[in-house]
Symmetry: none
Amino acid sequence: ADLTLEQALKAIAAAKAEARRQGTLMNIAVVDAGGTLKAFERMDGAFLGSVDISIRKAKTARMFNMSTKALGDISQPGQSLYGIEVTNGGLVLFGGGELLHDADGVIIGAIGVSGSSVENDMAVAQAGAAGL
Amino acid sequence: ADLTLEQALKAIAAAKAEARRQGTLMNIAVVDAGGTLKAFERMDGAFLGSVDISIRKAKTARMFNMSTKALGDISQPGQSLYGIEVTNGGLVLFGGGELLHDADGVIIGAIGVSGSSVENDMAVAQAGAAGL
Amino acid sequence: ADLTLEQALKAIAAAKAEARRQGTLMNIAVVDAGGTLKAFERMDGAFLGSVDISIRKAKTARMFNMSTKALGDISQPGQSLYGIEVTNGGLVLFGGGELLHDADGVIIGAIGVSGSSVENDMAVAQAGAAGL
Amino acid sequence: ADLTLEQALKAIAAAKAEARRQGTLMNIAVVDAGGTLKAFERMDGAFLGSVDISIRKAKTARMFNMSTKALGDISQPGQSLYGIEVTNGGLVLFGGGELLHDADGVIIGAIGVSGSSVENDMAVAQAGAAGL
């Protein structure tokens, strides 16, 4: 079954809780199994430019069924997928995009977070994915 | 003051309540005073193509400080703004985009709804704006 | 000779004076003989969506060496250039784009105005062109 | 409060004064708090390709609330934000985009300058920001 809106909002709530714990201001996007935007929230004061990045992180993760960090690692200069970021209208190659799984481990979507350091973005995205 | 995330989610909740009353499945987007996406939700089963339309409706309304219905009325063949839809990366000329005002009547953003007939989209958007 | 920045700012000043006389809030753009943006000003409170429209009006006028009103007249449904608005990345087919000429009548650029009714936009653009 | 047109033109005047002191020909763009273009001037003889770059520099700075130089430093190959330039329709990763603050230190917009070496662009943008 595909991701429900209820699940998407649960993931966003878990992500926001981690952002508040960090003291960061995040843009948080969730896409469904088809890679289409399901829910999005921008915390007050979060970067304007992170709307697009958070959505792209979620889409990028789902497009290749791996975190954006994992995709980024194999897309650096000299690596096998170097240059992939210009495909699909623009991908994101740094951390903050994580897959969402159902109870059986099936991929049902992805979450993208942007607004702080890549390390903080990743921790918030992982908290969102875990909170599903 | 700009729209807060709390206000955006309140508008979306009011819009979803009206959609449930109608028995329709909607995409609902809210942009802030600068026209940037603040929050978005897609009800389960709602049109995939309405993600983009709902976001554009909200942006279109804020860009010209009028509902998309009002803009559409003056952009028909033979009307004064015919052809305006190709500007700004693509505008929406039919109803479902409404302005959001604060208690003093200042425009603080806009809501865009897409997923059913234009009449239903408009009613849901207006319910969202009223629920702010 | 091409339009100078001094001339562009003189045209914008004349346009703003007419907008103030009207009591309207305008976006005003000037392009040079090559159709490239030379100067732009958005009056406080003017439509956000008119940034793009004012620039496109100026470019559209210069691209075909006629006012956007004149181009629009021959691009309506049933007219000879119907559909031209989707070319060149998006043209504007309603009034508010006017050519700029030097003392010898040579076209040296164009001015585009957007922010009120088409009639007001045209009057402000013509005042700008006359003020050059 | 958002940036006024008067403030935007004051920043551009200060930037032009520094460009004249350098003997360079610059494109200078100012965006407001929402990241939307507020004013723009291209000095006579300045690069045509710098219209787009100066506007993108201003938008990029506001999108992430840091100078384009600071963003560029963390987006190089091997750095944390590598590849970010393909997001948001295209970002600029080299210097010349600087934030604009009001008297209370609140970010109210940004200035982007392009037309010479990056060092010169940065000095002109910083002069513009200081002249606000």
